[in-house]
């Protein structure tokens, strides 16, 4: 745990240094981070590697009435996220993402692989310097494979060995981004369709999910940007053998702050601070803090 935090701190200390040395700036301010997938290719990049370290803590359950309760699950969670993006054509690229998690509660820990996701992004409209108000528009397709141990097959107390969602989900979406001016911003909408999961008591189907992300930010120079945004997620109720379970729909509204370097042919860093279930109407979700420090390298 201490080693993980030290690594986190070390990467954080490197961030200002990397910001100061910027011989060749990355031009496409609109690229670099995705609301649905962590690694996004700049039009001039063909491959990119991503390593993210996350620490999550301060979990509190929010019940169906929106009331906060003490969390039964882990007290903190550390994640190592690996991703690789590959360009498939000038307008299309794909990425694979997998994570390895470590849960902790009262000195007890458990580690394991989380879920894996495959993502595709297709650019249907490229921005142009001649019309800075014209956004970049990308179509997204995400598929999550339920690889990690989930709440449905947990063996340890306090769900200490839960690392995945337990069900596969396919999510098409759209991402619109204005990044040609110092004031940047964008919005994404993702519609997730989960697969049914066979459990002891029958066929369980989670509800469809609608996820909206709105982002605004400032890019004082082409090699650095600061973003803040909100994520609003609505999941319909769960069905067991076709029967809708009462009060099982979920709502969560998160906020985040991102600081990111955008330098070409060099290592880039991204730092994200987020608060899950931070505002508005929330239900059947978990409130908590999260920090992520990521290193990216275009190959």
């Amino acid at each position: 745990m201490r080693r993980f935090l030290l690594l986190h701190l070390l990467l954080l200390l490197l961030l200002p240094g990397l910001l100061l040395r910027s011989p060749e700036a990355q031009a496409c301010s609109s690229c670099g981070s995705g609301g649905a997938d962590p690694v996004v290719l700049n039009p001039s990049e063909s491959q990119k590697f991503y390593l993210g370290l996350s620490h999550q803590w301060g979990f509190r359950e929010v019940d169906a009435k929106g009331e906060e309760r003490r969390s039964y699950g882990p007290k903190s969670k550390d994640l190592v996220e690996l991703a690789f993006a590959q360009r498939l054509s000038p307008a299309l690229f794909g990425s694979l993402v997998i994570d390895y998690a470590r849960n902790e509660r009262d000195g007890q820990t458990a580690s394991g692989w989380g879920d894996c996701s495959a993502n595709l992004r297709y650019t249907i409209l490229q921005p142009s310097m001649l019309d800075p108000l014209l956004p970049q528009i990308q179509l997204l397709l995400n598929h999550r494979l339920a690889i990690g141990r989930s709440i449905f097959d947990a063996k340890k107390e306090h769900y200490l060995d839960v690392f995945g969602a337990g069900y596969a989900e396919t999510a098409p979406g759209i991402d619109v981004w204005w990044g040609m001016l110092p004031l940047v911003g964008g919005a994404s909408f993702i519609y997730g369709i989960p697969s049914a999961k066979e459990i002891d008591s029958g066929s369980l189907k989670m509800g469809h999910v609608q996820k909206g992300i709105v982002t605004v930010g400032y890019m004082p120079n082409p090699s650095f940007k600061v973003l803040t945004g909100v994520v609003s997620e609505r999941r319909q109720g769960t069905e067991l053998d076709g029967q809708l379970q009462p009060d099982s729909d979920r709502r969560s509204n998160d906020v985040f702050l991102t600081v990111e370097t955008l330098r070409v042919e060099q290592d880039n860093l991204r730092f994200i601070l987020s608060r899950k279930a931070a505002w508005g109407e929330v239900k059947n979700t978990t409130r908590g803090w999260s920090t992520t420090l990521a290193w990216m390298r275009a190959l």
């Binding site: 060749e24 031009a27 000038p90 490229q126 310097m129 040609m180």
Partner: protein, 120 residues
């Protein structure tokens, strides 16, 4: 007969318009031939989506040669035509197969290179 003549005139016009393209498609061998015929002082790599490339397009050093890369051909031509002004048409090619950017080891934009051997 008149219809055939009109079609011929239309196609001729289209091919003439294509020939007049400021950034015609080229591969590394084509570029090297062009540079042998008339040397350039600097190679400037740009794309229509590259906002930081604007400065290089607005104020290029004399004798610069432009290379549109990582971009759509029409979009790149539109941008170079926008900045050409009333002066002589800039020398430019559109990197049609990525061989020029690969040869000069360009991985991001904007980028400038000496027309000689690629940077190591």
């Amino acid at each position: 007969m008149n219809k055939f003549l009109a079609l011929w005139a239309l196609l001729s016009g289209l091919s003439a318009a294509k020939a007049a393209e400021t950034c015609p498609p080229a591969k590394i061998a084509d570029l090297q031939k062009l540079l042998q015929e008339k040397p350039a002082s600097e190679l400037i790599f740009f794309a229509s989506w590259c906002i930081s490339c604007k400065e290089h397009l607005q104020h290029p050093p004399p004798g610069s040669f432009f290379i549109a890369s990582f971009d759509e051909r029409a979009a790149a031509n539109k941008v170079i035509d926008h900045f050409r002004g009333a002066n002589e048409a800039p020398r430019c090619v559109w990197d049609e197969d990525g061989s020029i950017t690969e040869h000069y080891q360009v991985k991001g934009l904007p980028a400038t290179r000496s027309p000689g051997p690629p940077k190591r």
